[in-house]
Subunit: 206 residues, 2 copies
Amino acid sequence: MATRPRPYHHGNLRDALLDAAERLLERKGASALALRAIARDAHVTHAAAYHHFDDREALLRALAARGYDRFAAALATAGERAPPGRGFLEVGVAYVRFAAAHPALFRLMFGAEVARGRGGDDALGAASDRALNVLLDGVRASAPGLDEASVRRRAAAAWAVVHGLSGLLLDGQLAALGLGSGDPERLAREILSGGAALETAPPGAG
Amino acid sequence: MATRPRPYHHGNLRDALLDAAERLLERKGASALALRAIARDAHVTHAAAYHHFDDREALLRALAARGYDRFAAALATAGERAPPGRGFLEVGVAYVRFAAAHPALFRLMFGAEVARGRGGDDALGAASDRALNVLLDGVRASAPGLDEASVRRRAAAAWAVVHGLSGLLLDGQLAALGLGSGDPERLAREILSGGAALETAPPGAG
DNA sequence: ACCTGAACACCGTTCAAGT
DNA sequence: ACCTGAACACCGTTCAAGT
């Protein structure tokens, strides 16, 4: 075996950096995600990170891709465990639950820094596609035989509701409406099952 | 009159800094909003900014408050100009239109940096309340006699749809659904008037 | 009261040099 | 192939000093 100088560096620093970044994100928020601080936390020089990521934003995108993987898994599990016919609602609730449980990660996943390089990052695109497919399958399952264009339109509308609800919740904006102070899951369930969003518009207005 | 040494500084540097910040935000994006860069653009030393704002985040909150003012005005105008019975839909379309027209400002208004200090910033709270009230009035107008709790729940649901749609649009996420490539206003109109988001759930499931 | 200049401890990125 | 150390041009914040 001879001498084994350092315990970490010969392994995969890439994952170690992502672990450190995730730790910082959870404990100290997005503003703590400095590349130098991440490297420090992983016990390497900051320049070492550039052997595994093009730049700081590429590291953030890789962290976001990890988030999408867990996100997709959480949505899929919620859909599978739901009572028949309620899978779609439960996926929506799981969406909001994930956002409330991992606010900083959720914001990172859908934030501007990650959005900027989304097109050129294949791993990120694949991970977020996995999450999207759970949503699309949910629509197809609850409305079998629907044509694909309608599936996509319904998915977009459903996605918008849960995504917007999550965003407003994290922002504390719902508090201004007297909502959002209690359990986020209960709030999500109430609003999602409470009926359509723009139902107040007269039918046939479009 | 005597000598008047410098043209700007005796006036209100506060507004000049916000003007510079807005210019930078529009032209170069959120990452250009460094306090030093803003001060440079306003032709002052960076330390001068601290005589008008507690710190960088306070400046960003003031900029966001400006955004909420314009936002509220845009929503109100859309509601007033809409044909009878369609005001609520048009306010929703205006919401998405604003986000698409001012993506960086919209992100700033609802982003994490501004959210962090939202509670302690009275001007920001007042400005965002004005925008919220347009939404609430829209719900009340389209469903007169509704009790206040239902008004708030409907407003939250409607807010979620348009807010989520805006966010997904800015992220380019709707492109993954084959949507979002065309006119954002047309897309908003289609989805908003296309019916309820979670309609696919069987009635009485909750 | 308002702005400057210098200082401090950070930051992202690059690059020659080490192993 | 992978990591280090030093350098560069930035950054937010503070504070004594100027007017």
